[in-house]
Symmetry: C2
Subunit: 354 residues, 2 copies
């Protein structure tokens, strides 16, 4: 597989000035990776200047949401760039693609694309702890045809955003008893647009009511915890770590998996199981559940300070709690190269020489 | 609200040659309507040549499926064009938009847009019974920002496709016991991309196994009938018409509503209720359920000849049956101007003079 670097891409990179305020996911790197799928095969990929996609108004992605995406981070490490477990993102994106009848992006193409973007954008990565390049691969169905059938043509892009540390701070979660983000037998374990679209309404009203995120319950039983709109959920009870077991409607987070590994390694007792929301709230009220946190690529670990259920509010006694702090530090130390990479999670990419 | 007709749009229309084979939803009219929403208000609309949309790669629609759409038909009637109940589509699209936190397209803008497209494309409408202009309004979130929050910028388009009569023919349905298209508390009663994305995998394998469409069950109880991927479901039992009651996960079809009105008017006994799939299959086997059909804007009424459930196949004794035939004729007679428009369903639009 050969990747073409358009000269205009290099020019865009040279002319780019990093704005002072970055935020998270709002400033876009001036280049992007593109590959096309047609007639059953993938084109060579190319690095091109960031710019508008020309999409036919009848493209399937615009009507039938045939799209999936990934999110991962690149960190500045010495004179290279570190990617955190990118092969997990490649595998998850292949899974998401299959769920929507899209051709999975082959792992070598996915990894080459991510590496190409990371190595060319390395100089855009801010250098302070927690700062990173957020990388967003996505795949869309582009065939212009209004039939409700899978597209025959696809485009795969990788865009990137130099980002500040994402301080979600302490989060207050709203227990969402009404809406669902994905169905049992639906697309909850895939990273596809429709799940996020379905979440927006619940999220939208939260701030005014004093909450930051919705806590989604399982759409089948409506009383066990699934996850947040973009993070997985953990709780600490009597010193042991509990997280909802994967059940088909939860996205399998790379951070979730990494924290479970680290927790076991640190000697913590770990339970992946069904967690009933009413049980959890009672344990928070009684003080048995001392801390809870959410995790994901963007925020890494975010302490939860409060759970709201209708009129009632349940406060966690420790936010951030010691377990969240310990796990966050252990993970970040590996990602930023301060600790030994004992689980072989980091992939180093040399800077592009251009 | 004023609509600008770009001179280039008129030129595109003049230069357009209608292909001999039309199909359904594949040939696009050479013009489209566009209006933009920004800073809380709608721009004036304009009719422009059909052509690619320039979308930022980070546009919310591409990642988080913030999009909804409608489908309605325009028929050639004398020296004008007839639209069928377009205000129902306007209302449904407003409902869909709200479900995804999008600003509803105001009814006057929606109707003006559809009328503008219909009147300018009138000469593209083939003249034979069943042929029509299929009109596809859609609304997409365009703000370039990777946060999982509602877009602040939107674009509303109306594209159209001169189409042949859509002969689904007799359909064989596969009872989908595994997958769901939308969750309880999800987006099933809204016409949004994610529902269709979630349907694609079930649909994809059907043809090889001898089926045409999936029959979706309610995602909450997994045993009552909801609908098809793009049509509502009806069955005739002992001469009475039965259809699943609206329950939040079924799209409220305009055709469904119209057929219910016509059926009551024709003196048929009509039941909107929960229909258990196992009960239905038993009634088909025993001969009590004699016919079943699906309905929607595209195919109007499509007889169902067979229901497949795992290894078992249940054949309907009449396909098409007399009730389906009678309702189809009654509806088409109104839509094509042969019968009196007793329910005030048709809106006539004069041809554009250009
Ligand atoms: C729905 C959902 N759950 C969980 C996660 C966390 O996954 P990861 O740790 O791989 O970022 C994400 C974010 O990617 C997500 O969108
Ligand atoms: C899921 C779904 N159900 C039902 C229908 C039928 O609705 P209508 O009769 O308004 O075309 C459609 C098509 O629009 C649909 O997409």
């Amino acid at each position: 597989m050969s990747i073409k670097i358009q000269p205009e891409a290099i020019t865009s990179l040279r002319g780019f000035e990093i704005p002072e305020r970055l935020g998270f996911g709002t400033v876009m790197a001036p280049v992007m990776f593109r590959a096309r799928y047609q007639d059953g095969r993938w084109s060579d990929g190319e690095l091109v200047p960031y710019g508008p996609l020309a999409l036919d108004p009848a493209a399937k992605v615009l009507h039938y949401a045939q799209s999936c995406f990934e999110g991962l981070k690149a960190y500045r490490c010495g004179n290279g760039v570190g990617l955190f477990r990118p092969e997990r993102n490649a595998a998850r994106m292949a899974h998401s693609a299959r769920r929507l009848c899209m051709p999975p992006v082959p792992e070598p193409l996915f990894l080459d694309a991510v590496r190409t973007v990371a190595s060319h954008c390395a100089t855009l990565i801010p250098g302070n702890s927690g700062e990173s390049l957020y990388i967003r691969p996505f795949l869309i169905g582009t065939q212009p045809d209004l039939a409700v059938t899978a597209s025959r043509a696809y485009e795969f892009y990788v865009i990137a955003s130099p980002s500040e540390a994402y301080h979600a701070g302490n989060m207050r979660l709203w227990v969402e008893r009404q809406d669902s983000r994905a169905a049992v037998g639906g697309t909850g374990d895939a990273k596809v647009g429709g799940n996020y679209a379905a979440s927006l309404l619940s999220i939208a009203g939260l701030k005014e009511r004093g909450y930051d995120q919705s806590l989604w319950l399982n759409p089948g039983n409506r009383h066990t915890i699934d996850e947040l709109s973009g993070m997985n959920f953990f709780a600490v009870m009597d010193g042991a770590l509990h997280t909802p077991a994967l059940n088909g409607s939860i996205l399998e987070g790379v951070t979730r998996d990494s924290l479970l590994t680290l927790a076991r390694d640190l000697g913590l007792e770990v339970h992946e199981r069904e967690i009933d929301i009413d049980d959890l709230l009672a344990l928070v009220a009684s003080g048995t559940c001392t801390e809870a946190f959410a995790c994901g690529t963007a925020a890494i670990v975010s302490p939860i300070s409060e759970l709201g259920d209708g009129e009632r509010r349940y406060r966690l006694s420790q936010a951030p709690g010691p377990v969240a702090e310990q796990l966050r530090r252990a993970l970040l130390d590996i990602q930023e190269g301060r600790a030994e990479d004992r689980f072989d999670w980091m992939q180093m990419v040399p800077l592009a020489s251009d």
